[in-house]
């Protein structure tokens, strides 16, 4: 394989670091804005939340791909930031504080994924896939954008995609993967733990 091809593949597989989502200027500005928000400055707080929501969206899209739960996750994170704003200490860096909340919310959302609406969407996706005789659905293709999910082993990625992103039940996922329901549960649990570790490692 040529060197340039190896480099481009390495770039493709490389996980974006949390620091790439935040520049040094952002860090200082957000810290100052949060201090101002703690003293009750509404415009500063609105501006801060606006910037943070874009940053969080970008962060999540790059790691998980374009999925319906990303927007929910961004909003949940904004609420958490609002509730936790008194714990921000201006003497500490803003980024670890912010990404600890983002990471927690992302994993939490992933765990809680599975509404009826998602199930309906998933079934529709599966029907489309079966009809076209394709191996992967459009929604699964979206996963390719999620570099964090790409870093999981294929077994874990399949399990978490079917249950937490496409919204299938454990039994349905087990039937599709031709494994037991227990094995699906184990794979999902391990996949979430692995995602948590990866997120912690990149923001540490």
């Amino acid at each position: 394989m040529e060197k340039s091809a190896i480099t481009s593949m390495a770039q493709l597989c490389r996980m974006p670091l949390a620091s790439e989502d935040v520049s040094g200027n952002d860090e200082e500005r957000w810290s100052a804005l949060m201090v101002s928000a703690q003293s009750g400055n509404e415009p500063d707080y609105r501006f801060l939340l606006g910037e943070l929501s874009s940053c969080i969206s970008r962060y999540l899209y790059r790691r998980f791909g374009a999925h319906h739960f990303i927007e929910d996750c961004v909003q949940e994170t904004l609420i958490a930031i609002h509730q936790a704003r008194h714990t921000y200490d201006a003497r500490r860096r803003f980024r670890p504080w912010l990404f600890a909340i983002v990471r927690h919310k992302a994993i939490d959302m992933l765990r809680r994924q599975r509404s009826q609406q998602q199930l309906a969407t998933a079934q529709q996706e599966l029907r489309m896939t079966d009809a076209a005789g394709q191996n992967i659905s459009p929604m699964e293709e979206d996963l390719a954008q999620g570099q964090l999910l790409l870093s999981l082993s294929p077994q874990y990625r399949e399990a978490i995609t079917l249950t937490k992103i496409l919204g299938l039940s454990n039994a349905e996922a087990a039937a599709r993967l031709s494994i037991s329901e227990g094995a699906v549960k184990v794979r999902v649990h391990r996949a979430i733990s692995k995602l948590k570790q990866l997120l912690e490692a990149e923001t540490a």
């Binding site: 714990t87 200490d89 909340i101």
Partner: protein, 214 residues
């Protein structure tokens, strides 16, 4: 996107000023100081400490070291507990270091089963040291949970466990001078009740923390 803008407007309108939480380390050290004072006072209140304990502390370096490492382990556990209640404040490195020091301290008593620090003796025996250890630890554990609850513990069970561990180990450590010194007795009647308090604190604090929308 419209929803998000609406949410941002809702969160930022009529924004109340909030008092930034005090430094987690400062809260932890103040809590620790108050808890140690409380445990020492209440232990003396309910019975005298081992007669030769202070002499042993001065004359047996390994015993002094054991107590110092114990105090360090508890201090680190308390710092870790309060840091865990602030997003991003507890780093994996600090968490590992705190766990390591705690294991070294407790490992010392396991080692003591074959090579005791002091000559095993029933001198200073307290009849209900295990109950005392558990009961004395409860108020500091609950206060620690209360203080952490005012912050923002992202992992409530984990935080409560750490609070319980730090609180449970204070009387467990002090019993080394207040009660008889036999490593098997220490592990079973001082350390074990302290560990039990950690689990109990997590169980009690879980529904309490669950009311927080984390």
């Amino acid at each position: 996107m419209k929803d998000r803008d609406e949410l941002i407007s809702a969160l930022s309108s009529n924004l109340q000023s909030v008092r930034p939480a005090a430094n987690a380390n400062a809260i932890a050290l103040l809590w620790l100081l108050a808890s140690v004072l409380y445990v020492v006072l209440i232990t003396h209140w309910f019975g005298p400490i081992r007669a030769n304990a202070l002499t042993q502390l001065m004359s047996v370096p390994r015993f002094s070291l054991e107590m110092i490492v114990g105090l360090a382990a508890i201090t680190l556990a308390a710092l870790a507990a309060f840091r865990a209640a602030i997003p991003g404040a507890l780093t994996p490195r600090f968490r590992t270091f705190a766990a390591f020091v705690m294991l070294v301290w407790l490992g010392g008593y396991v080692l003591g089963l074959v090579d005791p620090t002091l000559e095993p003796s029933i001198l200073g025996k307290r009849d209900h040291c295990y109950i005392e250890t558990a009961l004395y630890a409860l108020p500091p554990a609950m206060i620690a949970c209360y203080l952490c609850r005012r912050l923002y513990p992202l992992k409530p069970v984990n935080t409560a466990l750490r609070c319980g561990l730090a609180a449970g180990m204070i009387p467990a450590l002090y019993m080394q001078v207040a009660c008889m010194y036999i490593p098997s007795h220490i592990l079973l009647f001082h350390i074990f009740p302290g560990l039990l308090i950690a689990v109990l604190t997590a169980a009690v604090a879980l529904p309490w923390f669950a009311r927080l929308r984390l």
